[in-house]
């Protein structure tokens, strides 16, 4: 239980213009946690991920990632965005998408090194998409796109993986598949994911936080069981309101 804290939020508030998105959010992620942040759309989930990556700065409060300000440790942290944000017609193959996980500010000329290709091959193998290496990314199904973007994220051997709604646009059979794949990666990598949907999440993760401007962490297994039970008969959002009072 005494694993080191890798991400810490201490009384973090964030305003977008005049709108308060997050208020006094405090939590920490420990090494090899599988942490799920659940909340309604517009509740501030993606904001939390963007704060962790250093794309935006908190209005007040302090965030540290490996003890440093976010954005300093980019090599150790990787992110899987929602695949729906990519241009479906963009001319790029699966292998090339994965190789983009290795791009640097010193990547000059069009060629990849042998080492880079080997790493990409390895990441594709781990996610079971080696046979699709030459397929066009835009032509893939939602589940395979998610796998491709996950391969791109792990190709650089990160210590933390952030996922934004990894199951938002896939059907429930694929959803389970993706969680199992994440669980497998979780043996070595700390995972933080956000989702508006409780779905299968609770049976896979070891920590759940609910966010809707304020943040409530559910550490104990009891509370998590409770969440699942409620899920059986009530709507997801009602359930979150019910349990956390937010």
């Amino acid at each position: 239980m005494d694993k080191p804290e890798v991400i810490k939020f201490n009384k973090v508030s964030f305003f977008y213009g005049k709108n308060e998105i997050l208020r006094d959010v405090t939590f920490s992620v420990k090494k090899e946690d599988f942490f799920a942040i659940i909340g309604p759309n517009g509740g501030g989930k993606t904001t939390i991920l963007r704060l962790m990556l250093g794309f935006i700065r908190p209005t007040s409060g302090k965030i540290t990632v490996f003890g440093e300000e976010p954005g300093r440790n980019l090599a150790k942290i990787a992110s899987v965005p929602q695949f729906s944000s990519h241009d479906r017609l963009f001319p790029i193959t699966v292998e090339e998408v994965v190789l983009q996980g290795l791009v640097k500010s010193t990547s000059f000329f069009p060629f990849y090194t042998k080492n880079e290709r080997a790493k990409a091959e390895d990441a594709m193998k781990k996610l079971g998409i080696s046979d699709r290496a030459d397929a066009r990314f835009g032509d893939l199904s939602g589940g395979l796109k998610q796998r491709t973007l996950s391969a791109r994220a792990i190709v650089s051997d990160p210590e933390i993986l952030l996922l934004d709604e990894p199951v938002a646009s896939v059907d429930s059979s694929v959803e389970k598949d993706i969680y199992e794949m994440l669980l497998d990666m979780n043996k070595k990598i700390t995972i933080v994911m956000v989702s508006h949907d409780i779905g299968f999440v609770s049976s896979f993760v070891n920590k759940i936080g609910c966010v809707n401007r304020i943040f409530v962490e559910h550490n104990s297994k009891d509370e998590m069981c409770c969440l699942e039970e409620h899920h059986a008969y009530s709507g997801k959002t009602t359930m979150i309101h019910h349990k956390c009072g937010i």
Binding site: L53, F90, V97, K104
Partner: protein
């Protein structure tokens, strides 16, 4: 005299062929980045606004070519910043710069004493009037386009596909994006000489869009659209020489027709 015979006799036709080759190399590369980023409007904005710089150069008595390069680069940076920072009305701002740049050029040229400049040369270009010294200048520009895009190829591609991912890996996405627009701006100047500012947009879009139907990688699209641009230019040159028609317009119509046929072909094949 037949086209091929004339080609071996007249140096102006030989210059035209070299110019077409330089244009094909530049616009094959830049057009592909315009296509994958869907920024035809930005490329069009740069192309039309360049007239402002040409007009100013004519009015103040320095080289219009130099004026075009400087203005194209300034607009590339400005439009890049607008694209990256503006959250709304981006298209309106680009449209306004497009029209105002062009208007400034028209006024400068109108005010130039003696009216020695033929506005049409810049608006419509003329590949048959390309001189030896033009070729030298175009070669330098094309060399810049090729070198910069070869050097930054991976970063251009990464920023085009997923800016945030590139940024996460330490790539200076905004700078790379603006550099990419600058490469496009230099290409605009090369094309101005050949098809004119108004038709630059055809060169920047049609060969790459046609190539994208048949190729699945960015590199493949670039190579095929270089070949296509050159073939389009050559056939345009042939038609306009043989029937004495305006070259830029013929090249554009040839490109447009091939694009339409390719699109139709791929739709039929896929259905």
């Amino acid at each position: 005299m037949g086209f091929l015979n004339a080609l071996s006799t007249y140096s102006f036709l030989q210059n035209a062929v070299i110019a077409a080759l330089l244009a094909a190399l530049s616009c094959g590369i830049s057009g592909t980045f315009v296509h994958i980023n869907r920024i035809t409007f930005i490329a069009g904005g740069i192309a039309h606004a360049v007239l402002g710089g040409v007009g100013a150069a004519v009015f103040f008595g320095f080289s219009p070519f130099f004026g075009a390069i400087v203005t194209a680069l300034i607009f590339a940076v400005l439009l890049g910043i607008i694209r990256l920072k503006a959250t709304q009305h981006e298209d309106t701002v680009i449209g306004a710069m497009w029209a105002c740049g062009m208007s400034a050029g028209i006024i400068f040229i109108y005010l130039t004493p003696g009216y020695a400049v033929n506005l049409n040369n810049y608006l419509f270009g003329n590949i048959l009037l390309v001189s030896k010294s033009d070729i030298a200048a175009l070669s330098v520009l094309a060399a810049f386009v090729i070198l910069l895009s070869a050097l930054f190829f991976r970063q251009f591609k990464a920023v085009s596909f997923d800016e945030e991912n590139a940024e996460l890996h330490g790539v200076k996405a905004s700078l790379v994006y603006i550099l990419m627009l600058s490469v496009i701006a230099l290409t605009v100047v090369v094309l101005m000489k050949i098809v004119g500012l108004i038709l630059v947009i055809a060169f920047m879009t049609l060969p790459a869009a046609t190539a994208a139907i048949f190729q699945r990688k960015v590199g493949g699209i670039i190579l095929l659209s270089i070949v296509l641009s050159f073939v389009f230019s050559m056939s345009g040159l042939f038609v306009s020489y043989t029937w004495n028609l305006p070259t830029g317009a013929i090249i554009t119509l040839v490109s447009g027709t091939v694009y339409a046929v390719s699109l139709l072909f791929s739709k039929v094949k896929n259905s």
